[in-house]
Symmetry: C2
């Protein structure tokens, strides 16, 4: 037994405990506009995710979420910020911890525990070109009772994976996820994508995080379509406008040039301030 904390710390040998490496992976989500041939129709919105192509083993040539090793002198929350800046040159972005994955065999190199984060951005604000191993993939998914099929598309490649959902014991309406099929994405990154989307889906109704994905000024039609693509269902106009009424304020600008009645432009207004 030691007499004092100093004495204890001096005698302490970190090598006495198992040591491992940690990484942070970021799910960077944004909204993409798909212009439609008919000039009158509004653009189709999709969720999209930034992936990078691995140029070395393990998982060489597969796509994965941007990530990197945690430095020994770096706070855990600083790590995703650093990676985000490396990939997008963006700072002060909405960032939220998702989940920590720590299966023994999840990285073939050695024991690596990974904490995943979700970042929400408006990708139109990106000023710098992405590095040429990075690409935005539009997300589409189809859900049935027990599985979800994902299709990620960047215009050239389509990545597919299938997730199995299982209800928690003694809990309704919340799921545990498991990878059923995945050939195209590295590591356990499909699980990060599904947890992030679920988190976003839940939070959109009781927080204002969606505005992190919107431009400064937007039409209510655009905002509604973003809600719809995240919630994966149609909303009725009057109900939607009631719900967001106190989160937005009208600007003096209008959006013209579409093949129909011009829409007023709104901006975010924090209802609590």
């Amino acid at each position: 037994m030691f007499k004092s904390e100093e004495e204890y710390l001096k005698a302490y040998n970190p090598e006495d405990f198992d040591r491992l490496s940690m990484t942070a992976d970021i799910l960077i989500l944004s909204i993409s506009d798909e212009v439609v041939s008919n000039y009158r129709k509004s653009s189709n919105k999709k969720m999209s995710v930034l992936l990078v192509k691995r140029d070395d083993y393990p998982f060489k040539n597969k796509w994965c979420l941007p990530g990197g090793f945690l430095d020994i002198n770096e706070d855990l929350e600083e790590c995703p910020k650093r990676i985000l800046q490396r990939e997008t040159n963006l700072k002060d972005i909405y960032l939220e911890q998702l989940y920590t994955f720590g299966g023994v065999k999840r990285d073939p190199r050695m024991r690596v525990v990974s904490t995943s984060y979700m970042a929400l951005i408006d990708k139109n604000k990106l000023k710098y070109k992405l590095s040429n191993n990075a690409s935005w993939f539009n997300i589409e998914y189809f859900e049935d009772k027990n599985t979800i099929d994902f299709y990620l598309d960047n215009g050239q490649e389509t990545l597919k994976f299938t997730i199995k959902k299982k209800l928690y014991e003694q809990t309704t309406d919340r799921y545990k996820f498991e990878i059923l099929k995945n050939e195209d994405l590295a590591f356990d990154h499909p699980l990060v994508i599904i947890s992030g989307i679920e988190r976003l889906k839940n939070k959109i109704s009781y927080t204002d995080i969606v505005f992190n994905m919107m431009p400064e000024e937007f039409t209510l039609g655009d905002l509604q379509r973003v809600y719809e693509v995240i919630l994966n269902k149609k909303l009725l106009d009057p109900a939607f406008r009631r719900i967001i009424a106190d989160k937005v304020e009208k600007t003096t600008h209008v959006q013209t040039g579409a093949g129909h009645r011009p829409s007023a432009l709104f901006k975010y207004k924090n209802p609590k301030r």
Copy 2:
């Protein structure tokens, strides 16, 4: 550049990356009954948490959440299960990952990243005596606009700490927490306690996790008081009974012996099955 994954892995040296240790800490929550002098009145319910007293540096003689180092050959989710069994001899318990804390200075010995978990139990089901450095503390807290004062009491000692709450930028109704004052609890464990309570508070209204804290059979009055202590507000009887109506089913038993009309005993019924 390597020709194959095997070749790459053979040449791979884990020492090339910073290495650190990980721990898992568990917030074990239960409900305690405080018998009241007046024989007619029902018992007072409180949330309670299992703490252990540290018998060595760092934080010698302070109380902390049960925790331990992650083994190199152990999946991250197995670690809290092992600790839970060590402390309570319980298996197959509701367990949920809360948050991963990874500040550089959070452990004075060395760099330690800790993933926290929440376990919900009915402590009356414990068959074995706790080890003599472990104790249940009743939780009381008082909230105002920016701070929360916590008082944890095990009948002999009262531990106090104060948490500061800050609204997330561009998000309403969700808080970031920070320790303002803490003399009695080791590490950053006050943050684990507040995150767990917040998580439980949110989840109680859209899941059935509360039944993990209840005995097999219970009265609706008891169940309502558990909801009230978790949500930290009074509920109206008819509204409460409407909400839980399809989650419980009446048994043939009744609870007599209290100084008033006997109450029917109910048990949990999963409404989705």
